[in-house]
Symmetry: C2
Subunit: 474 residues, 2 copies
């Protein structure tokens, strides 16, 4: 592809001129230009730089939202909120840098005297997601955490919002020092990045097929590099007997943002209760979904839902717009779910879900054992605590976050958040892409043994000039 064209999901019409794709050969120049000094700046200086990026994005918020709305149709309120989330993330990492906690400094007095800190892993490639044109894209969480760690970042723009990507990249480039940030466009440039010897780690949010291909490339290098990918999640929600208020909450979570969230509740386990099923059908029947983000996502959704993995329980209404679709929920029972678990747990991106009915707790638990890895698992509990505990005991081996009496959509950006899980939720289950711990992906430990005081990095000096926290053995 020699250029990437953005489209308006409301009209299917092109938005502006196509954005030229980056040739694979240009990727060499981009990586060669990656800063060799960014890693050596002080955490305080990097914090100032992150704050400056956040301020610049906030100052340009209205213009950025307008560009993104034309390419995504996500609407001004949601996109304005997303810019705020994006700048909030940048400032969160700036705050973290000022604490010095990210360095995880440990002293072992010895002998030998060993002192450990952490340093940037090197230049990082970040692949933007389609569904968060700001918060998981050019200046999103992967970029913010990698810049905070001291890594130069090369972002591969998502095809669904090329002009939004350019606009955000322009702000990053003029705010950050030379060589700290670059943008490439087009798939060819993306694969060249993952293969490039100068790239030391990859962050990715996207589909299982695309993510697996890039993961395989990264692991197949002569020198494999860490690949931090979020590839898919069906986010099981379990409704236990006696839970209340489920139907409306489910319909709202399923269709939020036209269902285009990695935490969309794709699987709902409910007691085999005609009244509850009817409530769910009514609630889903009352929903409307706006247009999907891209022709590819639209086509995939139409194909998946037309193929009909099970009987249709309810359909909502397609809203306005060329790529608008109707929400649809299918239903089957636990025995069928177990028998066809592999195909029934494939993620369908968009406002579609599968309701699985169960007769009794044992049937439910057997069905949960068939679940693949997901980002989240939710329980709507009744009065029986032991049932909740049994469900949680299985779910927690399948997911990275357990939600009680709530819905998985809406990921809080907080210190304790874990946004990860077993494959395919994450390619690296010990790591998160949301929250302060996201910085861990871009840092590697380095131990100094018997090193002279005056030649140590400041955080390792006995007099602790930066006042950073440290653990001392013994």
């Amino acid at each position: 592809m020699s250029a990437v064209q953005g489209f308006d999901p409301r009209t299917a019409a092109p938005v502006g001129e196509p954005v030229p794709a980056t040739a694979a050969a240009e990727v060499d120049a981009v990586v060669a230009a990656a800063s060799r000094t960014w890693a050596d700046t002080s955490p305080a200086d990097r914090a100032l730089a992150l704050d400056a990026v956040a301020d610049a994005l906030d100052a340009d918020c209205a213009r950025l939202v307008e560009i993104a709305d034309a390419e995504t149709a996500l609407g001004v309120p949601r996109l304005t909120g997303e810019v705020g989330r994006t700048t909030g993330q940048l400032r969160m990492f700036a705050s973290l840098l000022r604490t010095g906690a990210h360095l995880n400094v440990v002293f072992s007095p010895g002998p030998p005297d060993v002192r450990r800190t952490r340093q940037a892993i090197g230049p990082v490639a970040v692949f933007s997601a389609s569904n968060f044109p700001f918060a998981f894209s050019v200046a999103g969480g992967d970029t913010a955490s990698a810049l905070a760690a001291g890594c130069p970042v090369v972002v591969k723009a998502h095809e669904a919002h090329p002009r939004t990507s350019l606009a955000v990249a322009e702000i990053l480039r003029r705010t950050l020092p030379e060589g700290v940030f670059a943008l490439v466009t087009g798939r060819e440039a993306g694969t060249a990045l993952v293969r490039h010897p100068g790239i030391r780690a990859v962050g990715f949010t996207g589909s299982l097929a695309g993510g697996r291909a890039l993961f395989d490339l990264a692991q197949g290098r002569p020198d494999p590099i860490p690949f931090y990918g979020e590839l898919g999640s069906v986010n099981p929600v379990v409704v236990l007997p006696g839970a209340s208020g489920v139907a409306e909450g489910y319909a709202a979570s399923l269709t939020l943002g036209a269902g285009q969230f990695c935490t969309n509740p794709g699987l709902l386990f409910v007691p085999d209760d005609a009244v509850l099923l009817d409530e769910i059908a009514q609630a889903v029947g009352g929903t409307t979904a706006g247009p999907l983000l891209s022709p590819g996502i639209h086509r995939s959704y139409v194909d998946h839902t037309a193929a009909g993995p099970a009987r249709v329980l309810a359909t909502g209404t397609a809203g306005e717009g060329a790529w608008a679709v109707a929400p649809v929920v299918f239903a089957t029972d636990a025995a069928d779910f177990v028998a066809r678990a592999e195909s029934l747990t494939e993620e369908t991106f968009g406002p579609s879900g599968l309701v699985v009915t169960y007769r009794d707790l044992d049937t439910l638990l057997a069905a949960l054992e068939a679940l693949p890895g997901s980002l989240t698992g939710s329980v709507h509990a009744g009065a029986d605590d032991s049932a909740t505990l049994k469900v949680a005991a299985i779910l927690r081996t399948r997911v990275g976050r357990l939600v009680h009496n709530g819905w998985p959509t809406g990921v809080a950006v907080c210190w304790a958040m874990h946004h990860g899980g077993p494959w395919p939720a994450s390619t690296a289950p010990a790591h998160t892409s949301v929250g302060t711990a996201a910085i861990d992906r871009w840092l590697v430990p380095i131990a100094y043994q018997d090193w002279p005081e005056h030649l140590l990095p400041p955080e390792l000096r006995t007099d602790n000039p930066l006042g950073f926290p440290r653990t001392v053995q013994g």
Copy 2:
């Protein structure tokens, strides 16, 4: 292979009967039997179990050392020390469990209320190393840290010490609860383990070729799993002008344990100084090496050193024993090193090294840029601090531990230790296989959102019944 025969490196004679290899089909039964309750035991109970294993190994130390000496010829003093290191590691992880620091508990009060802890990743496969029949083998650091994390462990015994492996495994099996530990033997069983859906992570210490093959298997699974491997390291040591006492230290480090350490100083960079080269040649010429561990290691050493990557600077004397070899040190200059860096930085396992001479600091720095990843980098400094800093600035991007005026052999088991580095030193550069942080490899985060107090794991309850440390946001 249907059985694994151990040999005495002193005589090349078989030691005892061959140990039957585990059939690939038996691996299914072994993994199916892995405990589903070990992860739910309290850290305090797991600490007691680790201490009990350590006590049982100590009680049987003399017998274990005798078995291992027959298979490895490493000698009673070294092997007795290694049992102590092994039981020390087990007790270190027991101590860590009692602090609760391994759970890395974080509270974000919200709303939503999110509380994060860590849990065992699941059953783990551990591949033992040839060169540490205790400390990196059946009850070694990978096993100790994984058991501490709450993971059942299946160890694949190393072919070079099958009877030692059986003896240690017998102690683990009778000391630990059912299903917490198992041993398999033979390569076929090893590959079956890495492919098995029930195995959730792999620990490996060994060769680049063997490790790469298993890494590729783990990453090629339908559900790739973390593979924590230490595959090779040339451990560059840089001697700066004005450094003293280098020759004797180098010869001793190079030939310690017949050079069979992952931290063996394979590359020595020295000023082009005839006096120093002569001192090194004298010191190496005075060394003797005992027998290597296995016929494979012996053959590989003989082939590599016979091929002669550069001119011979010095040879020592082959000691007693069928597989004894002479230490040998080659020499070349920095320009040749840069030109042939890829082949000259291949690890030769055993008491062999390459001395690289440099004319001036710039030549040295250019040569260091050609280094691959290693576990360690060492600097013997002179009076010029700026030279030390320039060397360290390059080395720290290539290694996991920087040693000042010392030698890389002898890895201190302490909290601050980092035993890892860029590929091929480690397949997962953010992680270590030595020190308390080794437990991080076997734990995955789990966040509880709005979960009722009385159903939370104890470390996440507000009243903190276990008294474990926690970070609270805000």
